[in-house]
């Protein structure tokens, strides 16, 4: 069953067309990757889905209902969480607070409860903290609850960002280059983490990734964007063989900083 669908999604910036008639179907419990050279419109796609950009035309549906033009916070509350290419944590807050903020929509007490510290407030805060600690444990940050986010090592920051996104209890998680800047070992771990997200928590994953190894390794479906248009879609195997994809990458490979060698040729593992 399709969790997220876009129909003829189009977004322009002045004269530049960032997305043109993009149709995308993300199946439930899939790990779905979006790839494409720089400037292909991947991040714009994410921004449209999460409500930060209003598409010029087209429709976005989440679990069958249209979410086009919905305010970002409402989109988030429906169960779409995201991370960022250049990590965006609440830098001067503690690790725990970062996650607690993610839990914001799920904490229910009134202002009066907070002011009077009613039992309801205390219960909600306790539950929230427990859940936050669980999430931190899940991503492997136990013991660092009271670090300030900026002081975490790079890999931990990535993980914290995921924990924070998980706190929204999302059905769909958008990951924007989760392995960027990581060493092979860290990348390994991240791949494992992403798998666990789907397997243990049943979260559908939409992924932007530059590292082809990662893409080919974990994706169920891969969509390829080029100049805002969808040029291919299918299993990693299919996409890898698609001549248009090879052309898109090879043709401008040097210019986009992505040499042909990064695209694993057929036959490679």
């Amino acid at each position: 069953m399709a969790l997220l669908e876009t129909f003829h999604l189009t977004k322009r910036f002045g004269g530049l067309v960032a997305l043109r008639d993009v149709d995308l179907v993300v199946q439930e419990r899939a790990i779905h990757s979006v790839i494409g050279p720089n400037g292909a419109g991947k991040t714009t796609l994410f921004n449209c889905i999460t409500g930060f950009l209003v598409p010029d035309a087209g429709d976005i549906r989440f679990s069958g209902t249209s979410i086009t033009g919905l305010r970002p916070d409402l989109v988030a509350r429906l169960g779409i969480a995201r991370t960022y290419q250049n990590i965006r944590l609440f830098r001067h807050l503690s690790v725990l607070d970062n996650v607690l903020i993610g839990l914001h929509p799920h904490i229910n007490y009134s202002l009066l409860d907070a002011i009077l510290r009613t039992s309801r407030y205390r219960r909600a805060e306790r539950t929230a903290e427990r859940e936050a600690r669980e999430l931190l444990a899940f991503v492997g940050l136990t013991g660092k609850e009271f670090f300030t986010a900026v002081n975490l090592p790079y890999g931990d920051q990535r993980r914290l960002e995921i924990a924070r996104a998980l706190a929204l209890r999302p059905k769909l998680l958008l990951l924007d280059e989760p392995t960027a800047g990581m060493n092979p070992h860290e990348t390994e771990e991240m791949i494992r983490l992403i798998r666990r997200l789907r397997d243990e928590r049943g979260i559908t994953i939409l992924l932007i990734e530059h590292d082809m190894k990662v893409v080919m390794n974990i994706s169920d479906v891969v969509t390829v964007l080029d100049f805002g248009e969808k040029i291919a879609e299918g299993t990693p195997e299919e996409v890898r063989r698609n001549p248009r994809v090879i052309e898109a990458y090879l043709g401008r490979g040097a210019a986009s900083g992505l040499g042909p060698s990064t695209l694993p040729l057929p036959g490679e593992a």
């Binding site: 669908e5 129909f7 003829h8 149709d23 179907v25 930060f52 209003v54 598409p55 035309a57 087209g58 429709d59 249209s66 086009t68 033009g69 919905l70 305010r71 879609e233």
Partner: protein, 356 residues
Amino acid sequence: MTIAAPHRFTGGRRIDISQLIVWTIGGILLAIVLLGSILTLRAGHYTAAQWRDFVVFGIAQGAIYALIALGYTMVYGVLRMINFAHGEVFMSGAMTTFFLADYLNRSGFLKAHPWISLVAMLLFSGLVSMTVAVLVERIAYRPLRGAPRLVPLITAVGASFFLQYTFRGLFGSGVRAYPAIPVLQGKLWVFQKTQIAVFVGVLITLALLVLFLQRTRAGLAIRAVAEDREAAALMGVDVDRAIVTTFAVGGFMAGIAGVLYALVFVQVQFFMGFLPGIKAFTAAVLGGIGNLPGAAVGGLVLGVIESIGPSLFFDGYGIRAAHQLKDVIAFTILVLILIFRPTGLLGERLGGEERV
């Protein structure tokens, strides 16, 4: 695989109650202003000549706003920050030059060579303001480059008060009156000669500024930094130097504005920079901040609205002493522009930065 779209989305963001309220308020204000104007015009208290006078006064005042606004706009274009202390830069030139003017007057030089004296005063004032502007940049802004945006804004406010009360301490809180310049007394057609001097001064300064930005290496560097600071740095532009130049040029113009202000309004004091500063900022925003012609147009438009507004908008309602509401009009325009068209009348030249 193509799917026929079941629904084609055409509208923008779904309607938001907060936005609705804001638009309603804006609409009501517009209606009030329009109705007031119609009532005033139908009452017909004012002759055409008087409306013309209002416009003339507005342009004279607006030209000074424009000159100060250029400094705001340049700094904003380059640094993306509001140089809150710019009004004080303007004041510092005017205040200091009073003593030169006074000296020239006492020694009789002013009477004998009014033009030379005027040029000397303009240059002197420009240099003083320039020095102050550069010092402010060096001390209050440069060490904080790269800090969160709030931080230089706070130092700017601090610098503004520091300068105001420094000048108060140095020269006293009293009002000083510039000597009259003999050749600029009297009228030429409907204009005072001083007003004409202001227009001419503004035009020349603006022309020189455009030439400077278009034709010199320093100007090129400034434009490059305004466009993209990192890229400019990579291309070998000395960013710090370009920024200092910006402040220097902006300061120089503020200094010139200071003397022109003194020509028209005669009296100067330590607090004189505050209101013109805010107004000039309004003008810069009105024209589209970062946009040089915009600042000039914004200044003139603001000056004219301020001059005409109280009579045109409020007389029809029979509001007492409507002139008092002049600044309310200016500030309301400021807020409305920031809400409804933050890119200003002529558009913001230097896009790129997200302002959701």
